[in-house]
Symmetry: C2
Subunit: 449 residues, 2 copies
């Protein structure tokens, strides 16, 4: 007996996109191709119509809320290794972003290829259990600690790919270009040597080699680290290459005030203006400004139809400040979310804190609302479609015909949801919850948790 080519899934409630409109529905039947994982149809059959085609399985997830798999738009996987390790003041270490960075560099420089693989795999595995089905890995450990190339210059990128492949997570490898320690510097600090390719040519050769590996599970983006680490002429070179090949561009933007001051001193412009002038915002894919916290009124005008990636738990941990998410939305930017340092791996918390940090700043409620006055769908979108757009994968982050069945199931019997009306479960999770009640995770139609 041959296995049927399609599988159908249902659940008490699901957040699906029908005719382009994302909505909460009861007991839909979502059919997808077993081989490719692609969604073939979504039907809201009344109970009388619910007979399955002969031999086709209907898998009922029961008392659960089915959501699209979440897309994590900004991660440094290896930094999970210092979870919990940077919260004691040392005799010589002031408590700042910059001292945190020193501690992080120390760990970065202990990792050999197997270490990169092991840390990345552990991190990616945790992501998958938390309902993240695609990650944008902002990857900057490229070479040996002293800067020497491995036999394969893409050795460490391949270890990241291997880790994603082994756990079954979709990966957008955001290859980082890093050239110098700051505006005044000709090159990197010793502890930054392994981040550096030495030339844009060498870097782009690596990117092109990785592009050749592209598949539904793997894509590639171009990531000039920041205006600190990349000179303006190099930025222009990277932007031209990315734009010519339709690759997304991601960069750290205005995470710390010092970075803005140094950029003004070097360029007489804000970091975002420097990226814009280099052509980073002119491509077929949206540019993603990661953090974009300390921005000016004119910066806010620059990202219409572009992307901001907020990482609220990391931005709090590192004392960065609050992403002005409401202002970015008003100016036409789309918000995505990242787990960044991976101290916390939970996009539900990132989404909740995006709204809660705005409430703290504005001393008001319901800061990020859709046109029906609802907050939860905005937060869910940041965790799903926002990330998908940022990674140049607009088919992801939604349960829609033609998209892959990347999904998570929230257990409505979880203690935090007991007694909560199912119609309010999305609000209860995204405005009061965490990723904890996620009980099942599917990628490309395969159950991974």
């Amino acid at each position: 007996m041959t296995q049927p080519a399609a599988l159908a899934v249902t659940a008490k409630l699901a957040w699906v996109t029908l005719d382009g409109v994302a909505q909460l529905v009861s007991r839909p039947r979502i059919r997808f191709d077993r081989e490719s994982g692609q969604i073939l149809s979504i039907s809201l059959a009344s109970e009388g119509d619910s007979a399955t085609p002969e031999g086709e399985l209907l898998h009922d997830l029961g008392h659960a809320l089915l959501l699209p798999g979440m897309v994590n738009a900004h991660s440094h996987a290896f930094q999970r290794a210092i979870r919990g390790a940077t919260h004691t003041l040392g005799p010589h270490s002031p408590s700042s972003f910059w001292s945190w960075r020193s501690a992080m560099y120390e760990v970065a420089n202990t990792l050999d290829p197997e270490g990169v693989y092991a840390q990345t795999r552990a991190c990616f595995a945790e992501m998958l259990t938390r309902g993240i089905t695609c990650v944008g890995e902002f990857h900057y450990l490229h070479h040996a600690p002293d800067g020497t190339r491995y036999a394969d210059p893409n050795e460490l990128s391949r270890q990241v790919i291997r880790a994603a492949d082994d756990v079954g997570l979709r990966l957008c490898l955001l290859e980082v270009y890093y050239a110098r320690s700051g505006a005044q510097a000709k090159g990197p600090l010793p502890e930054q040597r392994r981040f550096c390719d030495g030339s844009t040519d060498a870097y782009l050769a690596r990117v092109d080699e990785l592009r050749a590996l592209a598949s539904p599970m793997l894509s590639v983006g171009v990531a000039p680290h920041s205006v600190r680490a990349v000179a303006a002429d190099e930025l222009a070179r990277l932007a031209a290459h990315a734009n010519a090949h339709g690759l997304p561009i991601h960069a750290h933007v205005s995470e710390q005030p010092l970075e803005n001051q140094q950029c003004q001193a070097e360029h007489g412009r804000t970091p975002l203006q420097v990226f814009a002038d280099a052509g980073c915002l002119a491509g077929p894919r949206a540019f993603t400004a990661v953090h974009a916290i300390h921005v000016t009124a004119s910066d806010l005008e620059l990202l219409r139809n572009q992307q901001v990636c907020a990482c609220p738990t990391t931005e709090a941990d590192l004392g960065d400040g609050i992403v002005p998410a409401a202002a970015w939305r008003e100016h036409g930017a789309t918000i995505s979310l990242g787990s960044d340092s991976n101290a916390v791996i939970d996009l539900v918390q990132e989404a909740r804190l995006l709204e809660m940090h705005e409430r703290l700043r504005q001393q008001a409620r319901l800061c990020l609302r859709d046109d029906q006055g609802r907050v939860a769908p905005v937060l869910l979108a940041a965790a799903t479609t926002g990330g998908a757009q940022a990674l140049g994968r607009p088919e992801l982050g939604r349960l829609a015909v033609g998209s892959p069945f990347d999904a998570l199931a929230i257990d409505l019997d979880h203690p935090t949801l007991r007694g909560v009306d199912g119609q309010l479960a999305l609000d209860a999770v995204f405005l009061a919850g965490t990723a904890e009640p996620i009980s099942q995770v599917w990628v490309a139609g395969r159950r991974r948790r």
Copy 2:
């Protein structure tokens, strides 16, 4: 065969208080009386010395970090009923604290005695699974919705006691006095009628009746709701009674700017100064100012050796603002934590966000540090000993000889802690985690989860 009178517990790691010093130790043997739950001894025997007295059980919790049970210093249990329910903007409802309060009042007025019991029990049960072993319930639903007394005027307080008793949670019943809707009002709004006793005499008679029920599992405190709801002469009357009987006093203080403006208009003083002038800070127990967000430099001078109760998840949800916890500590106040609206029930998150909100405001790291530069012990103390002091139960919140064995075990094999050095587990939980890895909870020596 008779059961031995004592039980000993051990675990890979535990946070215990030895000779008055709280510290992380490996494999202690904590012996407690089976009947009373009181800790008899804590020994750090080397392995050779670890034989148990004949017939005495040694219960090994294994690869776990044992912590004192957490003390939740501020809760409105019934508000769990609106978890997730207040995050859509209605056509006539602006998005503010005050419109949230209207939604909350609506639910408050639907609850009959069994409803109060059911909601409170569900809430307390969730607290217990999250490692909370004692709660200060700031209880203000006293009478029927129209203000009519039940046959027993303490009917609803008894339902709260019943709920705590049924789930096995220690309770400090913070009986609320509520008299008016605001500075200009002679009485309550219609929807506030059930909060009101009508006179301090009637209220204090209820308090005295409840005091007679006191036990190791139940204590009582006096809670003038706020300067909005209580006139100055009544405050003085309540303070005198509380101080005469050694009862803790709790009140909402400066949660919203509007409250401060109205207080200045009525009294020409800040809310905290009004409480001080009424004698609320002069008793044998510390006064607890709940929230204490919008405070002045002279307010900061008032709470030396007194208490501030922060409720970060609720204070974000309601757009209240950030408790200046670092400034309060510098001025000699002790911080405790509350789950307040119970949208989130997780004192680990409250503790983490106490520090993280400060980092966002100060744009710095390690804001709340002990004299060894460590953050995690300060956050743990807020969740344990801080709350115990606020509730007038200084023996709670610590694993020490003479204290009851109220404890929680954190599973060091939880996915969020996998690969984290045990010595950093406390930091990983309190600075990057949630209550999720709590796998066992004990109250008075009895396992409750």
